[in-house]
Amino acid sequence: MATAGLPPALSIKGLAKRYDDGTVAVERLDLEIPAGEFFGLLGPNGAGKTTLINAVCNLIRVTEGEILVFGHQATSLEARSLVGLAEQDPNLDRFLTVREALIYHGGYYGMTRGRSIERAERMIDVFDLRAKTNTRAPKLSGGMRRRLLLARALLHEPRLVILDEPTAGVDIELRRELWRYIRRLHREGTTILLTTHYLEEAEALCEDVALITGGRIVARSDPEGLKRQFGARSLEDVYLKAVGREAEPEVLTR
């Protein structure tokens, strides 16, 4: 559902990231995600997915390259306010309750108190967190933490939502529930960048999929296009061919 006429939601040119220990996580990476698209980024552990996401969200020091979010430099205040991130590991403020975590997040993103409270209440209902409103993050179950993480990422109504393995470790019921909500967000015009190890998830949700390995994008198309390109029957086969591994379907599809 790319939106014509708008600058791309994300435009990355020549991105490189070399960590202090010399590890090159991403090398000369170019990527453009049109506004309104549901984009999937697949790759093995250590492929550079999280590094790419952290570069977009100003969570790492980029070695080289240019990143634009809806035409704004990723480091600018405008770009930051347009992005919502749910990180892979639940990184929730241990001193705040569920309700406070949401309200304060809205505040960090410049919302008024009233608006932030209103959105927090909405997110609490959407993600079924009402029973845990006054519970602090360390006392939440894994599933509840994941819900809160997603609620926080969406609280300030970002136009680009980045979900780094949002369904890792959640039960099938919550997973389907999250899919429904993410699909609805996408229908409403939000651009989604999703990383996942669940290939059926990418196949079911994403309009456009890129495969990343060794810090480089090695293939990109819609799921059907990728299958044709690689002469594969499923995205899983594409994945295995693209990342150059021997078939280990039980591991890769979990």
């Binding site: 100003n58 930051r80 992005v83 990184n91 403020d93 001193f95 997040h105 809205g106 505040g107 919302m111």
Partner: protein, 256 residues
């Protein structure tokens, strides 16, 4: 939504103060009780056996230094532990990704230490006046000295919180650097009674100037020129604030 970084700063500062308030028995009550015990034990119990220092009864003389020590430790410990925990659990990412400028993140995270230190300082002042009869000769100078103390040690807490790799690192700086230097900075005595070279060496201790800036505000007297005490404390505070700002601008140690 247009970015509103000032609002973000306000919320971040409020979050830091909320943390202090939620942990009030640990962050505020314990240091106040500890300092009052120092005043009672050293000042009121032993003080009667010590002649006046610089023309003041001993229990009055030690109050400014004890308040300086309590405020410095509170500002430092609060910020170093808060930032270390935020880094360790990675919830600092929520702040680093937010539409705020580096100085706003730096200031917002430092406010908790200032809030905690000022509440402790005010509580000790309110308790120490009736207990010891300590005067406040120069209220404006006292307020300025208190602000310099919380700025210096708040910023130091931010810096150590960013560099610390384990929780021990931040307690190490407190126990091995701040506490000893404050003690030998003239909290319990006037350095004028020290023989050479200890008298001269005391002047090389930066915390000596901080203690004496606060003492000037209370008693109207200090072991060194009051202007020099304020100037030295201000220069050190500025240097440490610049250091913490450098870390936020460059992302050094905050971002891999």
């Amino acid at each position: 939504m247009r970015p509103q970084p000032w609002r973000g700063l306000g919320w971040l500062a409020a979050r830091e103060c909320l943390r202090v308030t939620k942990l009030w028995t640990q962050t505020m009550l314990a240091p106040v009780v500890g300092s009052i015990l120092f005043i009672l034990v050293f000042g009121l119990s032993l003080g009667s056996r010590i002649k006046q220092i610089e023309g003041f009864p001993y229990q009055e003389f030690i109050v400014p230094g004890l308040i300086a020590m309590a405020m410095a430790q509170a500002a430092y410990s609060n910020n170093s532990s808060s930032i270390f925990q935020a880094r360790s659990d990675r919830y600092i990412d929520d702040v680093l990704a937010a539409p705020m400028r580096p100085w706003q993140m730096n200031l917002g995270l430092a406010v908790g230490g200032a809030y905690r230190a000022l509440v402790i300082g005010a509580a000790l002042l309110v308790l120490a006046i009736p207990l010891t009869g300590v005067p406040v000769e120069h209220p404006l100078a006292l307020a300025a000295a208190a602000l310099l103390v919380v700025t210096l040690f708040g910023a130091l807490g931010v810096v150590v919180g960013i560099y610390a790799e384990t929780f021990d690192h931040h307690t190490f700086i407190n126990n091995i650097v701040i506490l000893p230097l404050t003690f030998v900075g003239g909290v319990f005595y006037s350095v004028t009674i020290l023989p050479a070279p200890w008298y001269e060496l005391s002047h090389a201790n930066p915390l000596f100037y901080m203690v004496n800036a606060l003492r000037f505000g209370f008693l109207g007297t200090s072991d060194a020129n009051a202007g020099l005490c304020f100037a030295v404390t201000a220069v050190i505070a500025l240097a440490v604030v610049a250091w913490s700002q450098y870390l936020f601008v460059t992302g050094h140690r905050l971002k891999p």
